[in-house]
Amino acid sequence: MLASWGERMTDVLELLDAKMSFRVGRGFFHGTTLTAVDEVSMSLKRGETLALIGESGSGKTTLGRLTLRLLEPTGGKIIFDGKDITHVSEGKLSWFRKAAQTIFQDPYSSLNPAMSVQNILEEPLEIHHLNERKVNEETIFNALKNCGLTPQENFLPKHPHLLSGGQRQRVAIARAIILRPKYIVADEPVSMIDASGRVEILDLLRSLQVSYGISFLYITHDIATARYSSDRIAVMYLGRIVEVAPAEELIRNPLHPYTVALIGAVPEPDPSNLQRERPSIPGEAPIPIELPPVCRFNLRCPKFMKGTCDKEDPALEEIAPNHFVACHLYS
């Protein structure tokens, strides 16, 4: 199935049945197992942006952390650039640490307040022993320019508190691209940026992708920005990918009842909103602790089929070209 998502040779990243379970050590659920990511397979092509959307608790951030090997999976495989990095020790991962970077949600806490922009951008170069002074100066200058922080000499000595939210996020992006990575995980990179500046940051990520051929995993709860800035969209629910399709196809022709509900629940600026109720899904997603092997959405699903959805776990299948869905309605 994976091969049909794209030629294996051009994949930067591949997950094969990746699973991440945690033992719950404290509280009411003491001694149980929480499975944040449950046997997820996916691949990311070179220069592609895959948006991972889902609500809080769906496992999207854990999946992102797995792909960065910030967590060691409890099952399955992670292949990066053709190499199996599933259980490689940290000491042997430095090439990967250089090739895979991340941009965090909150530019107010992801930058060290005691460091100047210059220090912040030098640090990754030093860690990877790229400390040729002359070369570094140029690298830093270029990174700032590419992220729209010009004139560069004005920004270099500044500390983060002197910068606006958008400028801070640009510094965080410059730090992420300075080692010329192949892969970047952007976890809600614009959710703390004011609405009027979001598109500007998304456009910046897109232009960096084009110029450097970077692959992005864009993790977000905001389907509208996912539509705007990604090639494909994957929808996660309770540790599983329930639907994947090219972005426009997913928005216009959602198949999984959860995707349909998510899209229907997004408000548009329309005066007639005042006169109607917003479509909503009843209830909230449960905590993914020792779930039975049935459809995870069955308790909230408007299309629930007794005897099927509460009996069998649907597999992710290709229903239309490049459109995969895990739902008994289509199998």
Partner: protein, 324 residues
Amino acid sequence: MSMASRLLEVTDLNVEYSSRAGPVKALESVSLAVGRAETIGIVGESGSGKSSLGLSIMKLLPPNIHAFSGVVRLEGSDLTRLSENEFRRTVRWKKISMVFQGAMNSMNPVIRVGTQIAEPLFFDSSLSRHDAERVAKRNLRAVGLSDEVFRRYPHELSGGMKQRAVIAMALVTNPKLVLLDEPTSALDVSVQAQIMNLLKKLRTEMGLSILFISHDLALASELSEKIAVMYAGQIVEFGTNSDVLTHPLHPYTQLLLASAPRLTGGLSPGFIPGIPPDLVKPPAGCRFHPRCPYVFERCKNEDPLELVPDPGHSVRCWLHGEKE
């Protein structure tokens, strides 16, 4: 709007905070009226003054106030003249309640949810403990929670349930006006939809007046009959929901509407170049002029007056000056 139907009237409100760099002009000549059973949306980006407006009405501004002027009238009486003691005794949580941004995560973790909801009633001597509990439970049911939630602790509730509990808390004293400051910002979209539907229902059932503070025009449009758009401490546009959404007059409103990626229509949202001004030294003339695509000479020198090109639809922008 006739005088009688006005519940809240804010007139020429000016608020400055003191800071090391100098006074921060958080609100500048803000005027606004809220009718009975009416919802007004206050929309703006961070730093636009929308929360300062809410806090001014609640008399909960932080201590670093450098200057404050203006009148806030509730049913005709000037709240700014009341002492803190009188205000607390007769207005705050009695006639006006507020749901703060992130309130659901500020509940006391060691006090049962029900006790927290009933708390304002305990201080009202006319109610026995038993009656207070009864009222609190009635409010829990009104927000779609079961009586059993009364005995729970906040950590036992999901995000959506906590937000419902926080709304029950604001409504328990049967206030006339509720200020909602980003009441759904920490919630997932499907839960957000549930809460917005709940607010619509409560508003009708209880005849509430609401000031709905949000950065999201689409969200505000669900609940608000009228919308005030704020930028850099001023209301730059005010009109009915449909006026503002379908015929926005201020370039800022137009750009704000165009800058959000949407699920329908074209794929080319824009963005507003530049950043909001430093409110210690706001630009001369119109505060939006450095970012405005239609800027002309007058904008750089003269602060726009509030112009009313269409009845009930006002704007602070010189583009509409010729109809003055």
